[in-house]
């Protein structure tokens, strides 16, 4: 419930900010760095909220030049250099001495993450890998360096405290989850072009692209397309997906798991860890929390659709989120839903099957996502 309230607040604040930016964008002048930074961040926030930006944004970004993008990247690079790096361990608690400037820096870090998302999309729409943008690798390097420095000072709970309402859009494998995790790849590995020549200008997906794919299933065509051409990358990707799933860090995003299933020609797709209380608990006062699996972005449909499963008390609930007018029908097991609920979500609930669970989501253009999921306890 708190998460929904945070999402609602963030959505409203972001849209209010974009109304002001529309005025600023209409004023004479090019895409100056301060204006463009603001647009990139707000648009990225909306995307992380799974919402579309207003129409004026597309027209504005189409007119942005690579030199203006380079200026923005340079602006961010300079800003990151000024973010504080606390000495010693800091715990952020309500009654503590206070977060001071560190809170601003943590929230700015997350806002820059949104800008990186928008920059990645901008780049890919121009058939260019993000790493080909001037200063891109240096910016990602600086952010990684700051993340690693912060990881020595902040525990996860404190960092989430500092994010405040922005925690609502924190991805399972987003930058926050990387705090303290050393990057096994050297900077030179990031975005190296694929050899031999003739395979297009897209280079190897870099960390930012992979992170989005693993967290949300986005950039599927890019990542899976590259995997189809590079056996070495495909092998690395498969290993990454399996490892993350085994350690419980890939509960989100069905897309990577579907790719892995095809890649391995495996029938088994999903398993879940049982909740602390057995599903068959008889004590009604001991309310069970539904075990939640975020499926992430659903591929193959005409609009932005994401879904999650809740498992608990012997039932499975499929909850589908999308903008109005996209989804036509949702099915979980034998339960079919032809209309959205009061809150706008599409919900289908069925008894927890002993074998596989059939999921089907159909959109108004006739596109269908259909999958049989094996649900069983993790070993």
């Amino acid at each position: 419930m708190q998460s929904n309230r945070y999402r609602d607040e963030l959505r409203e604040v972001t849209r209010a900010g974009l109304r002001g930016l529309e005025r600023a964008a209409a004023e004479p002048g090019g895409a100056e760095p301060l204006l463009l930074c603001n647009v990139l961040e707000r648009v990225g926030d909306l995307h992380r909220l799974r919402e579309r930006a207003p129409a004026w944004v597309d027209a504005f970004l189409v007119g942005v030049s690579e030199s203006e993008i380079a200026a923005v990247i340079s602006t961010y690079r300079n800003e990151v250099a000024g973010w504080p790096v606390p000495e010693g361990l800091i715990r952020i608690e309500e009654d503590g001495p206070g977060d001071d400037g560190l809170g601003f820096a943590v929230r700015r870090r997350d806002q820059v993450e949104s800008a990186i998302r928008t920059l990645t999309d901008w780049s890919l729409q121009r058939r260019r890998a993000p790493v080909q943008l001037t200063g891109w690798a240096e910016l990602l390097g600086a952010l990684r360096e700051w993340d690693e420095a912060i990881a020595k000072a902040l525990d996860r709970a404190s960092a989430e405290n500092l994010l405040s309402i922005r925690i609502a859009i924190a991805e399972p494998r987003g930058w926050l989850a990387r705090l303290g995790e050393p990057d096994a790849r050297s900077p030179e590995d990031v975005g190296e072009p694929l050899a031999p020549a003739g395979l297009g200008s897209f280079g190897r997906p870099d960390d930012a692209v992979l992170q989005r794919y693993l967290s949300t299933g986005e950039l599927k065509a890019y990542v899976e397309g590259y995997a189809s051409r590079s056996p070495e990358f495909a092998s690395m990707l498969a290993e990454t997906i399996e490892t993350l799933w085994d350690i419980g860090e890939l509960r989100g995003a069905i897309v990577p798991r579907l790719w892995l299933k095809r890649h391995l020609a495996a029938a088994q797709l999903l398993n879940y860890a049982p909740p602390a209380i057995p599903l068959a608990a008889a004590d009604e006062e001991t309310a069970l929390e539904g075990h939640r699996i975020d499926l992430g972005a659903i591929p193959g449909l005409s609009g932005a659709v994401d879904a999650e499963l809740e498992i608990g008390r012997g039932m499975v609930t499929l909850r589908v989120h999308s903008e109005a007018g996209v989804v036509r029908r949702v099915q979980a097991g034998t339960t079919v839903t032809d209309a959205a609920g009061d809150g706008g979500d599409w919900i289908a609930e069925c008894p927890l099957p002993s074998g596989s669970l059939r999921l089907r989501i159909e959109d108004r253009s006739g596109s269908v996502f259909e999958e049989e999921l094996e649900l069983h306890e993790a070993p």
Partner: protein
């Protein structure tokens, strides 16, 4: 130190109580912020939060070294200041986490306050800046937060227009409320009240240490806050700025 100097009531119902700040808490913040014991590994120079840039400056050139010498020389009943920085030393990990000022012996912390209120009045000037921003907002106008954020971002091309802007928003943390004040020069002031309706007392004041953070984003930070369960619908904005920049 009394902050604010008098009780202040705001259009959104916030009341700031004129209360004396506990001396240990006050000195903790004076040492940490204007005197630069900020414990930031990237902090540059003597004045990492740039308090010397304000007009009048809260801390002047040479003050830090002189004040540290005086504080290091304080001795009361065998007790002295336990901040290694006043003696030019780097703190150990334990010292970093100890927040020595908050546990300073009574005689030592009282003498420390006299030092920072004397010939080099960092403490009173720090208090003066805080008083200034709350008084400015106290005569401010209450606006809906959406209008505030929309107007703010409309100046993304012209951040100079944000000079003179100050704004405040209330965050609710369970039963507690926190009022956060922001000023265009990067000043952040927090007041906390233990429950809704209770007068708020001063918590901290610092300058956003990153000089590179764009002003629009600095003011947009009123959309967040420390793990708040709820944020107020409204913001209170400096009247003269809001009326001058009507759209």
């Amino acid at each position: 130190m009394k902050l604010p100097l008098q009780e202040l009531r705001f259009a959104n119902g916030l009341v700031l109580a004129a209360q004396s700040v506990p001396v240990r808490s006050w000195q903790y913040h004076v040492l940490k912020h204007p005197l630069g014991v900020a414990r930031d590994a990237r902090a540059m120079g003597e004045d990492p939060e740039r308090w010397g840039e304000l007009e009048p400056p809260v801390v002047e050139a040479g003050w830090r070294a002189a004040l540290f010498r005086e504080i290091a020389a304080i001795e009361r009943g065998g007790k002295t200041c336990e901040l290694p920085e006043v003696r030019g030393k780097k703190p150990t990990r334990l010292q970093l986490e100890a927040h020595a000022c908050l546990n300073c012996p009574a005689g030592v912390v009282d003498a420390c306050e006299r030092v920072t209120s004397g010939e080099r009045p960092v403490g009173p000037r720090y208090a003066g800046v805080i008083q200034e921003v709350v008084e400015l907002i106290q005569s401010g106008v209450t606006v809906h937060r959406h209008d505030y954020f929309a107007r703010l971002t409309s100046f993304a091309r012209r951040p100079n227009e944000l000079t003179g802007l100050s704004a405040m928003r209330v965050l609710e943390l369970g039963n507690k409320r926190r009022a956060r004040f922001l000023r265009h020069d990067g000043l952040v002031v927090d007041f906390d009240s233990p429950w809704r309706g209770a007068p708020a007392t001063w918590r901290t004041a610092f300058r956003s240490p990153s000089a590179g953070t764009p002003l629009v984003q600095f003011f947009m930070d009123l959309s967040s806050g420390l793990a708040s369960e709820a944020l107020s619908e409204t913001c209170v904005v400096a009247r003269h700025w809001w009326e001058r920049h009507a759209i």
